[in-house]
């Protein structure tokens, strides 16, 4: 993950954490306090599982020139 992306994720996680303490936030996510603290400080990259539990979905941009066989995303139907 690039540095600017890491910074974006870090900021997003801080927003999701809100007023919660790191201890509480880590417990809510089911990770150790030390690990979550390291992620929030930018010392470690967040795992996919942490992102999923925090409700963050990674957005991957498709370059259709490099991946011409990629199926265009289907439009989500109104619920």
């Amino acid at each position: 993950m690039k540095q600017d992306q890491t910074d974006d994720v870090k900021e997003l996680l801080q927003q999701i954490r809100g007023e919660r303490s790191v201890t509480q936030f880590a417990a809510d996510l089911g990770f150790s306090k030390q690990y979550v603290s390291n992620v929030l400080c930018g010392n470690k990259e967040p795992s996919d599982l942490l992102l999923r539990r925090a409700g963050i979905r990674k957005k991957v941009t498709i370059n259709y020139e490099v991946f011409p066989g990629a199926r265009p995303a289907k439009k989500e139907k109104d619920r």
Binding site: N63, V66, F67, P68, A70, R71
Partner: protein, 345 residues
């Protein structure tokens, strides 16, 4: 190059002969440095992805890639918009035999054929659909770039995957014999001891583009005219063509299609530029390519006779060679400069 949880390394290598006889795996002649498009955006074609990277390769220079994952990943790999394993348009959906899994797959050296071999990845000028890169031959004007595309898929549950090791790796002094000295399970990187031997025999080859010292770097142009010419000059795009045959299996997915996430976790676009133009513009020296005629070091193989191989495709076999574009395979075998496999020139 880090892509999600995977370290991908592109290697310069020896170009193998272009006859019918497949060669053993060629060595690494050093890592290929990647440059971010964003730092050279005024030099790059406008359609290039700003978040992409590029590398500099000479015309007919060969390369391969190694995979060092933190955990098992599935990869779609292609160039110019063509999937390297089945010859179809490169997409972002995993399907039977259109992807590889690392581990066990430690390396990829070329376009997959049907008989346990690949056609070596060899750089060739990209000409907007008119060139002889594999993608241009298969897609024509539909091919919009020569870039290498890689899409990475993580497993749904890493812990549920059984641990898999790559097969044992070996090296030989011969380009075709299978008298390998078996070493250890390949960790996604060619045997270092053997590589040192290779570099020791060929001191003029730089180990890595990143290690080029200021003394060896080509001096940028000094006169005003040349500087002005360079100031507006753009990189020349390359694509990936079809080289000679190499013995390499692509191991079938040991976990099954269902274990992988439906969408890629990360994607990489790596463009290719002509190394000579790159040197003229940047002053950075790119190591010269090496043909099998002059290479005296080790060749490699995998102890994988018990392993399966994905189906592959014959779509690449009828294409023009990037090394001898004007000839078909039969003609190439008759050319005096085209030494037979294993023969010394």
């Amino acid at each position: 190059m880090r892509l999600g949880t995977l370290e991908i390394t592109f290697h310069r290598t020896v170009r193998v002969p272009d006859g019918r006889q497949p060669s053993n795996l060629p060595p690494s002649l050093g890592r290929i440095q990647l440059y971010p498009v964003s730092k050279y955006v005024e030099r790059c074609p406008k359609n290039w992805e700003p978040e992409g990277y590029f590398m500099a390769l000479y015309d007919t220079e060969a390369m391969w890639m190694s995979f060092t994952p933190q955990h098992a990943v599935a990869l779609l790999v292609g160039a110019g918009g063509i999937n390297a394993l089945n010859g179809e348009k490169l997409g972002t959906t995993l399907a039977k035999d259109n992807y590889l899994v690392a581990p066990p797959q430690p390396w990829l050296d070329g376009w997959k054929d049907t008989d346990g071999t690949v056609y070596q990845f060899v750089a060739t000028p990209y000409k907007r659909g008119e060139g002889i890169s594999v993608a241009e031959q298969l897609m024509g004007q539909e091919s919009k770039t020569g870039a290498i595309g890689i899409a990475l898929f993580d497993p749904n549950d890493v812990k549920a995957l059984k641990p898999i090791l790559p097969p044992m790796e070996g090296y030989s002094g011969s380009i075709i014999d299978d008298d390998f000295q078996w070493t250890h399970a390949a960790g996604g990187y060619a045997n270092k001891e053997a590589l040192m031997h290779c570099f020791g025999a060929m001191p003029e080859i730089e180990c890595s583009a990143t290690q080029v010292s200021s003394e060896t770097a080509a001096a940028p142009p000094t006169d005003v005219t040349a500087r002005l010419k360079c100031a507006s000059r753009k990189f020349t795009e390359m694509g990936i063509g079809r080289g000679g045959k190499i013995i390499q299996k692509i191991y079938p997915d040991p976990h099954g299609l269902d274990v992988w996430q439906a969408e890629p976790s990360a994607m990489l676009a790596t463009y290719l530029v002509n190394a000579e133009v790159f040197e003229q513009i940047t002053g950075q020296k790119v190591p010269e390519p090496v043909g099998h005629e002059v290479y005296q070091g080790h060749w490699f193989g995998m102890k994988d006779s018990q392993q399966g191989d994905i189906a592959g495709t014959q779509k690449f076999s009828g294409l023009k060679s990037a090394v001898f574009p004007a000839s078909d395979v039969k003609d190439q075998e008759e050319k005096p400069e085209q030494a037979g496999v294993g023969e010394k020139p």
